[in-house]
Symmetry: C2
Subunit: 677 residues, 2 copies
C-alpha cells in the first residue's frame, strides 16, 4: 500500500475559488504541521460511540484534558459524547510518566499518533506530548461523506524550538481573566507553550502585592489580578502545557509603580497613572539602596507567586531623562564612574538580576539588558532585530526572538511566517551558538486593543508564528500556510475563541440598521495601517474608544489578498476565464457598494468618516474595471486618462479614516499592465 | 467556455438593500414598547464622560445593576466608561424603596424615564421598575451623527400582565448553568419576570436532593444542578427582577425518578432513564401512602430550596396505562369510587396540592390538574388552548397562557404575537374573571435543542411574546414588530446572547471548506418543519446529534418573509421597479447557488442530504423567474407548462431533509398570478 509523504508539501493553487470552495487536497490540514507524518488510506470514523481511554500512567491533568477534548470534539461535530459508553475505545492514550511539577524549558513535548481505520493510539513520554497529540487529533477531525472522520496516519512529532510564546500586555489595556483563559485555550490549540504576562506598565500595575499594596491600589484603577487569580491562571496554563512567565518592567515603563511609591522614582513626583501612549520619562532611581530593598522584597513575593524558573524584568525603553535631570543621580554616576545612562541602567540591571538570581530564578530581559558584563545565564528577548539576538547567542547568552513577531503592528501573517529565529545573522552561528536561540514570542502590545478586539488581533495570525516555532524549517510554503490558516481559524472557534463573532458585533453597532452587508463589503477590503503609522493618524489615549472600523477589521484582508492573486494572474496574462470573471464581479461589487453605503454612513458618528473611504473604493474599482476592459479588448488607454488614474490611485494609497484600501495596489497592477496610446 | 459561478452572483446593492438599510422611522425602536411615551426633540449624547448616579434609596442589587448596565453600554458602544468620572451625572436613578425580599407576583414594576438633551432621570417605586427602566434606556441608545445618543422622551411604563414567563425544559436535554444565566440575561433585556424551570422529566431529574440522592445520582447521567448552584441561579435571577418557579412534573413524565426509587411507580420496574421522546407509561402510584410520604419530604426540601411562593407540580400527559395494568391500583380505584384515570389523577393532584399548601406555597399545574373540586388557589398553566384558560378563570382559578407560545414548534413570531391571553373566550369574561388571567409563558421544550442551539430557538422570537405580555393590547402592528425584532436581536448580543455566532459555527462545521457562503444562501431560505412534524420525518432520541441544517437555521426565515412581501406586491400588480428587480436578483441567486453548492454537499455526511433541497430551490427559483418574465411581458404561460410547474411546486412544499423550502409559497403566488393560454 503506497503511502504519501506529506512533507514538504506541494499545493496547487491554480483555480483560486475552486480551491477555496473545495475541500483540501493535502492530507494534513492542520497547523502547526507535524515534524513527520505518513498518511495512509482510509480513515477512522467518529460517531456517538466514540470512546477515549487512558491506559497506564494517568494524573488529574490528563483526565481534565480528556474531558476538555470531548467538549471540544462535541463543539466541532455536534455529536454528543459520553464519558463511558459501551464498546472498545476509539482513542487510547498512553503516557509514559509525569512531567516536572513545574513545567520546565526543554522538557520532552513529543508524541506519536497512530491512526488506523479502527482505532487511534496516542503515545507520549510525558503529559506535555499527550496534550499536543490531542490537539493534533482534534484538528484532524473533518466532516466527510461517511461522517466525521480522521485520516489514517502515522505522526511523529516534536517541536523545533522549546520556547514558543505569546506575550500579552495587560498594562496599557487591562485584560480580564476571561480573555486570558480564552487566549490560553487558543495557545493550547496551536501548541504554544509560554504565556508571557506583561504585568506592569506606565499605565497600570496589574497584580496584587500584599507587601506593597499601593502598587495595585493606586496604580491600577482597580484593574488588577489578585494572587489567587494569578494562581488559578498558572494552574489553567499548566493544564494546557503552558508555562507562565511574569514580566515586571523596570527601570522605565514603571510610572504606575510611582503613584503609590514615589520614592522609587528618580523625579520629584507626585506621579499619576499615565494615560497616553509612548515612552515616558519616569524611571526608577538606581542610585538609592532603598530602591533595591523595595525590589528585593517585591521580587521575593513575586518569584514565590510565579513558580516558573524564568522571571522577566523588562528593561526596555528607559529614556534616562529623569536621571539626567536629577543632580543627585548625576553626582552618583560621576562618583561611581558610570559614564552614561546606558551604564547606569546596566548597573541597575546587574543589581536587579542578582536579586532575581538570589531567589533561584533565571532573569529574562529585553535587548537593553544585554551589556558587556551581563551574566551568561540572562536570557535576552530581542525586540530590536535578529542581529541583536545573534550577538547575544554568539556571546553565550540564550535568547528568544520577538522582532518580526509583533502582532500588534498589523502585518500580514506571511511576513511573520517568513521570520525564522535561525535565519539571517543567526544562520552564520555555530550549531552550539544556535542552540542558545530558544525560540520566539509573538507580542501583543495593547495600546490599540481592548478585551473585545484583542482576540481578532492575536488570531489567526499567531497560529502562523506558532507553526514557524514548532514545525521544521522547511515548512515554509506561504500558500499552504494561508489555506490552513483559514481552516485553523475555524477550528479555534471550537476551542472557545470568539473573535469572528466579536468583529461582527463591532461592525453591527456602528450603524443603526440591522442590515450591515454593505458595511461588511467595505470592511472586507480595508486594513489597519501598518507598524506605528496609526499613532500619527489620530489622537489616542487610555480613554479613546476603540470602536471604529479599524478596530473591527482583521489586520489582513483575505479578500484583498485573493484579489491580488487574480490581478497578478491577469497582469501576467495567465488568468483563466474564471479568474477574469471573478475579478470583474468583485470590482463591480466594490464599485456599486458605495451608492448604498453612502445612504447610511452619514447617520452615525462612527461611520461618517468612512464616506471618503467608500467613495475611494468605488473609484478604485471603476479604474480596475476599465483596466480589465482594456486588457481584455487589447484597446490602449489614452496616456492622459492613464496618468489621471495613476495619480488618483497614488493618492488612494494613503490611509483615510485610519484605514488602508487594500484593493489599490492590485488595481495599480492592472492599470500598469494595460497598453497606452 | 461556460462560466462557473463559484460565489453568489453579484447583484446591484443599491437596490438590494435599499428597503432595509434606512434607519427606523418610528421614534422608539425598542421591545417591548412602553405603555406611554412622548418623544421630544433632540437627544442626549453619551460619551466617555457618561456618569450614572444612584440617589436616595439604594441596595447592592441596584449597584450591581448599574455596573451591569455600564458593561452592556460599553459592549453596545465600544466607549470605555468609568464608575466615577468627573462631572455631573448623565443618568440619575431614584428608587422609592426596596421590593419584597422574595419577589412577589404583582409587585409594582413601573418606572418613569425622563430624558432631556442634558440629563436623564429614571424614577421607580421599587428596584424592579429601576431594572426595567435601565433596559429601556439601554435599548434606546443608538449610533447617531453626533455620537451615541438617546432620544429625548418622557416614558411612563408598567406591564400589562404581572406574569411574563419563559419555561426551559432541562429534563430532555440538560442545559448547563452558563445557558441558564445567558437566558436570564436575555429575559431581563425584554422585561420577562418569571423563569419557569422544568426540572424533572422521563429523561432526567435535574436537581440535587439531599433527602433522596438517588433521584439525581441514578436519574440524571450526572447532569444536574447542585443546591448551591440552584441558589446561585435564584440570586442571579432576582438581580434581574426575575422570579424562579421550579416544576417537578408528576405523576407522569417521571420515569427518571423511578430509576432510583422504583417503589414510587405503578409498574413493576426496574426502570431506566428514558432515551426516547414522547408520552410514556410510567406513572407514580397514587394509591400508596408511601408515595405521599416520599413526596411530602421531597416537597419540603424543594419548597425550602426555591423561595418563590408558587410551586409547579406538572400534571400533564399521564396516560394511565400503568394504572390500568396494575390490579392493586384498579382495586383501590374501585374501593374508593374513582371511576377512571382522570379521577385517580385528580385524587393524586389533590393530595399533592395539599402537601404544597402545607408548605405555604401556591400550586401551579398544567391544564390537567383542573378538576371539578380543584381548590380556587391552584394556578392553571394552559397548554391546551385559550378556552381551557378562560374556563379556569371563569370558575375562579387564576391562570397563565402557554398555548400559542410554544417556541419549540418553530412557528413565526407573528403567530405568537397574535396570541393574546385576553382574546377569544377570555374576551367574553367579566373584568373580574379576566383579572384571574395573570399573563403567559413561552415554553422551550428541549427534545430538539442542545446547549448550543437553544438560544437560537428562544431568541429573538421570545421578545415578541414578551412584548405581547408587557405592552398595551393595541400594540399589535406586525410590520413594526418585525422591524423592531431585528433591532432587539442585535441588542440582545450586547447583553450576552451568542445565538447568531452559534448558528454560524453550526453551519461552518458541516463542511470542510472555510468558505460557506453558498451554504448560507441555502440556509437563509429554509425553515424547520412546524409543530410536531419533525418527529415523524426522522428518528430521534437523547443521543441523536442535532447538528444538521435544521438545527442551525432560525425557526423563521427573514429573507423568505421579505421575498413573500415582494411576491405579494408583484402578484397584486403593486410592485415598484425596485421590488421587481430585487425579486429577480434573489431568484437568480437561488437558482445559480445550486451549481456551486452541489460541488460541496456530497463531501460531508451532514450536507449530503441537502442535495435535493438545494436542487429543488434552484428549480423553484427557475419557475419564479419564468413567472416574473411572464408577468412582466404579459405573455401567457402554456397550460401544460403551468400545470407541470404547479405540480412540481406542490411536491416542493413537502419537507426534504427535515427542512421546508420557504420560497415555494411565494413562487406559487407568482405562478398563480400569471395568465395562461
Amino acid at each position: 500500500m503506497p503511502s504519501v509523504r506529506t512533507l514538504p508539501a506541494v499545493f496547487t493553487f491554480a483555480l483560486l475559488f475552486a480551491n477555496v470552495l473545495l475541500p483540501a487536497q493535502t492530507p494534513l490540514d492542520i497547523m502547526p504541521l507535524p515534524a513527520h507524518a505518513i498518511v495512509g488510506t482510509g480513515s477512522l470514523t467518529l460517531d456517538g460511540s466514540f470512546q477515549i481511554a487512558i491506559e497506564g500512567y494517568t494524573e488529574p491533568r490528563l483526565e481534565r484534558a480528556r474531558d476538555r477534548f470531548l467538549t471540544n470534539l462535541n463543539s466541532k461535530t455536534g455529536i454528543p459524547f459520553r464519558l463511558a459508553p459501551a464498546g472498545r475505545p476509539t482513542l487510547i492514550i498512553k503516557t509514559g510518566g509525569p512531567s516536572k511539577p513545574v513545567q520546565q524549558l526543554g522538557e520532552d513535548e513529543s508524541y506519536h499518533l497512530e491512526i488506523s481505520t479502527s482505532q487511534a493510539i496516542l503515545t507520549a513520554p510525558t503529559p506535555l506530548g499527550t496534550l499536543h497529540g490531542l490537539q493534533t487529533f482534534l484538528q484532524l477531525v473533518k466532516p466527510k461523506p461517511q461522517g466525521f472522520a480522521v485520516v489514517s496516519a502515522t505522526i511523529d512529532d516534536t517541536p523545533r524550538f522549546p520556547w514558543r510564546g505569546l506575550m500579552i500586555d495587560v498594562g496599557r489595556h487591562f485584560m480580564p481573566l476571561g480573555v486570558i483563559r480564552q487566549t490560553l485555550d487558543g495557545m493550547e490549540a496551536v501548541k504554544l507553550n509560554v504565556f508571557h504576562w506583561h504585568l506592569s506598565e506606565d499605565q497600570g500595575f496589574r497584580v496584587e502585592s500584599k507587601l506593597y499594596p499601593f502598587l495595585q491600589q493606586k496604580g491600577s484603577d482597580g484593574n488588577y489580578y489578585t494572587q489567587d487569580q494569578v494562581r488559578d491562571i498558572i494552574a489553567y496554563a499548566r493544564d494546557r502545557g503552558i508555562r507562565v512567565i511574569p514580566e515586571f518592567d523596570m527601570p522605565g515603563h514603571a510610572t504606575s509603580w510611582f503613584v503609590g511609591y514615589p520614592n522609587l522614582a528618580s523625579g520629584k513626583g507626585p506621579y499619576s497613572i499615565e494615560r497616553k501612549w509612548g515612552v515616558f520619562d519616569p524611571a526608577m532611581d538606581p542610585t538609592r539602596e532603598s530602591t533595591y530593598e523595595f525590589l528585593d522584597r517585591l521580587l521575593g513575593e513575586m518569584t514565590a507567586l510565579f513558580p516558573d524558573p524564568y522571571f522577566h524584568i523588562g528593561g526596555d525603553e528607559c529614556n534616562g531623562k529623569e536621571w539626567d535631570a536629577n543632580p543627585r543621580i548625576q553626582q552618583y554616576m560621576h562618583q561611581h564612574g558610570l559614564k552614561d545612562d546606558a551604564a547606569l541602567q546596566a548597573y541597575f540591571t546587574g543589581r536587579v538580576q542578582r536579586l532575581v538570581t538570589k531567589r533561584g530564578k533565571v532573569t529574562v530581559g529585553w535587548d537593553e539588558v544585554l551589556q558587556p558584563d551581563t551574566p551568561k545565564d540572562v536570557v535576552i528577548q530581542s525586540w530590536r532585530g535578529a542581529d541583536s539576538l545573534a550577538q547575544a547567542a554568539q556571546r553565550g547568552n540564550r535568547g528568544i526572538l520577538s522582532a518580526g513577531y509583533y502582532i500588534d503592528l498589523n502585518q500580514p501573517a506571511s511576513q511573520h511566517y517568513a521570520v525564522d529565529p535561525l535565519a539571517d545573522a543567526a544562520a552564520k552561528l555555530t550549531p552550539e551558538q544556535q542552540s542558545n536561540i530558544l525560540g520566539g514570542e509573538a507580542t501583543m502590545w495593547s495600546e490599540y486593543v481592548t478585551p473585545e478586539s484583542i482576540g481578532g488581533r492575536i488570531w489567526p495570525r499567531t497560529a502562523a508564528i506558532a507553526e514557524r516555532l514548532w514545525s521544521p524549517k522547511q515548512v515554509a510554503d506561504v500558500d499552504s500556510m494561508y489555506r490552513r490558516l483559514a481552516i485553523v481559524s475555524n477550528d479555534l472557534e471550537y476551542s472557545g475563541q470568539t473573535y469572528e463573532a466579536m468583529r461582527e458585533q463591532m461592525l453591527r453597532r456602528m450603524v443603526e440598521t440591522p442590515e450591515i452587508t454593505p458595511l461588511k463589503v467595505l470592511a472586507s477590503v480595508v486594513e489597519p495601517p501598518k507598524e506605528y503609522a496609526r499613532e500619527s493618524l489620530a489622537s489616542y489615549d487610555s480613554f479613546t474608544p476603540l470602536n471604529k472600523m479599524v478596530d473591527a477589521v482583521p489586520a489582513e484582508s483575505d479578500r484583498a489578498r485573493e484579489f491580488h492573486h487574480l490581478a497578478q494572474a491577469i497582469a501576467e496574462g495567465k488568468a483563466t476565464s474564471e479568474q477574469w470573471q471573478q475579478a470583474r464581479e468583485w470590482l463591480i461589487l466594490w464599485r456599486d457598494n458605495d451608492a448604498t453605503l453612502q445612504q447610511v454612513l452619514p447617520l452615525s458618528s462612527i461611520t461618517s468618516e468612512l464616506e471618503p473611504v467608500s467613495h475611494s473604493l468605488s473609484l478604485t474599482a471603476t479604474i480596475g474595471l476599465s483596466s480589465l476592459d482594456s486588457l481584455q479588448t487589447h484597446k490602449p488607454v489614452s496616456a492622459s486618462v492613464r496618468q489621471e488614474q495613476l495619480t488618483f490611485l497614488k493618492s488612494a494609497e494613503a490611509p483615510q479614516a485610519v484605514l488602508l484600501d487594500m484593493v489599490v495596489p492590485s488595481v495599480e497592477l492592472l492599470l500598469q499592465a494595460t497598453k497606452t496610446e
